[in-house]
């Protein structure tokens, strides 16, 4: 699993990456009450909006950490958005991207680096 400074995680299997937000991000967001997911087939560039996570109080954007095409979204979040809080780094995933460049994730932080980054916040 790799991580961004925007607190997204990305797990690559072949040329498909699963993307979600980290436990830290889920804690900061508070109770998630709605998740807006992208359409399957949508092409995203690094830094494009990928999803929107809504808490009681506010809406927060989730950005694509790498470029690719959306090949699947986690439809279960429509009925159970609280999964983002309960299992942010597993069942609370948002979308799967077919990577434009499978090596792009190599520039992202690994877990020790991300945990070190969290210590600086």
């Amino acid at each position: 699993m790799r991580f961004t400074k925007d607190h997204e995680w990305i797990e690559v299997d072949g040329d498909v990456a699963t993307i979600g937000v980290t436990a830290y991000a889920a804690e900061q967001l508070g109770d998630v009450v709605f998740v807006e997911l992208p359409e399957v087939g949508k092409a995203v560039k690094t830094g494009d909006g990928l999803a929107v996570v809504e808490s009681v109080k506010a809406a927060s954007d989730v950005y694509a950490p790498v470029a690719g095409e959306v090949v699947a979204v986690n439809g279960a979040l429509a009925d159970e958005p609280e999964t983002v809080n309960a299992e942010p780094e597993a069942a609370g995933w948002f979308a799967r991207l077919k990577l434009a460049d499978p090596t792009a994730v190599e520039g992202l932080m690994d877990r020790p680096a991300y945990e070190a980054f969290l210590q600086t916040l």
């Binding site: 709605f34 807006e36 809504e54 009681v56 109080k57 809406a59």
Partner: protein
């Protein structure tokens, strides 16, 4: 948190229990505690929440010279403030509180506020006033200017102002202030606590039964600590305060009401004293009377959002043809309803409950309909 932010007498207590502090109206305030907005909201509806609202503007307006005739002195102090507000203060009974509006020259709403007449005979000729945090400097300046030579405004916003709200609030507060049980909704009295005279009002901003208590710093801090030791009580941040008042259909100044909005447009006609209006004694009387007569361009309504994401402040409201006819002034997710709700302004012909509309969120139209407010029934205690 920067040093420039003002602190309430309870700020340190919030930080000590891990509150997430944010800037609000120039103060460092708890937006949520460890439980988070959703749980804090539901706890308040189920048990009792304690809110630090010391950033608001409590003050006392006192006649400079009292005659000693209680009713006469009350009429005199009422006459000082009435020219600025929509309501009637002279008719308040001892101990009674009234919700009213501070109006601009054109009848626009500068702020909404509470005005109370003291219960005790010795307190007559004085009003207890609580204005909103964001507008308190301007409000106080306006009131002081109107009072010049007649009355003096003494600010009390260096004290603790604590709201206790929820079904268990009466039991909790009565354990500390036994006489509080005798108060009905929108009444208040002074009650001593740890040697300090506190103002205990049965009022609030959640739709629940509850109290708002003004206490000088040491007694206020002691009261806060004591409330939080009660297992029926949890501290509740500004996040849940906002979602609770939204469910209760109560407008938020600076968002749902502002100086461009009249009391009638805002659906707050009940706060306009009709005899004073007829006499032309209310600011903007001509406009308000015209609007009461039906010449109304827009009206504040509640909206149930039937699909999709919460529609938040600024979201456009469209009619069934897709034409934009208004904007959401506050909106979010209603924890008690597990659904998104909002308030906004629409033309009167689309303001009836059930009118099908849509809200535009991130470019997408989502079905919504006008709903009667409150979204969650009020549970005020009007008789004891």
């Amino acid at each position: 948190m920067t040093d420039a932010l003002k602190r309430t007498v309870l700020s340190a207590a919030h930080e000590a229990v891990g509150a997430r502090m944010v800037e609000f109206a120039g103060y460092a305030m708890p937006v949520q505690y460890r439980d988070g907005v959703l749980k804090e909201h539901l706890w308040t509806r189920a048990r009792a929440g304690a809110f630090d609202v010391s950033h608001m503007g409590p003050a006392f307006l006192r006649l400079n010279e009292r005659s000693g005739d209680g009713d006469g002195d009350h009429r005199s102090i009422a006459a000082v403030i009435e020219p600025l507000i929509s309501g009637d203060v002279a008719s308040l009974k001892p101990g009674q509180i009234r919700y009213t509006l501070l109006l601009g020259e054109d009848g626009g709403i500068l702020d909404d506020l509470m005005i109370a007449r003291p219960l005790r005979e010795s307190g007559q000729g004085m009003l207890y006033i609580v204005v909103n945090a964001g507008t308190k400097e301007a409000d106080f300046a306006l009131i002081e200017a109107a009072a010049t030579g007649k009355a003096t405004l003494a600010r009390a916003d260096d004290r603790a102002l604590i709201a206790v709200q929820g079904p268990d609030a009466a039991a909790v507060v009565s354990d500390i202030f036994p006489e509080a049980a005798e108060l009905v909704f929108m009444s208040h009295r002074r009650i001593d606590h740890v040697g300090e005279s506190c103002v205990v009002a049965r009022s609030g901003y959640t739709g629940e039964d509850g109290y708002e208590i003004l206490a000088r710093a040491p007694a206020g801090v002691e009261l806060w600590d004591r409330l939080l030791k009660d297992e029926r009580v949890k501290p509740i941040g500004l996040g849940a305060r906002d979602s609770l008042r939204l469910e209760a259909g109560l407008p938020l100044n600076g968002h749902d009401i502002d100086p461009t909005v009249s009391p009638i447009e805002a659906g707050l006609g009940f706060a306009v004293a009709k005899p004073r209006l007829k006499a032309g004694a209310v600011r903007g009387a001509a406009r308000i009377a015209r609007e009461l007569g039906g010449a109304l361009a827009r009206r504040r309504v509640g909206l149930r959002v039937r699909e999709g994401a919460p529609a938040r402040e600024g979201a456009e409201i469209a009619d069934p043809s897709g034409a934009v006819i208004g904007r959401v002034t506050s909106g979010g997710y209603a924890p008690s309803l597990s659904a998104p709700i909002a308030m906004g302004y629409v033309p009167p012909e689309l303001a009836a409950a059930g009118s099908p509309l849509s809200v535009i969120v991130r470019g997408k139209a989502q079905a919504a309909e006008v709903a009667t407010m409150p979204f969650v029934p009020h549970r005020y205690v009007r008789a004891v």
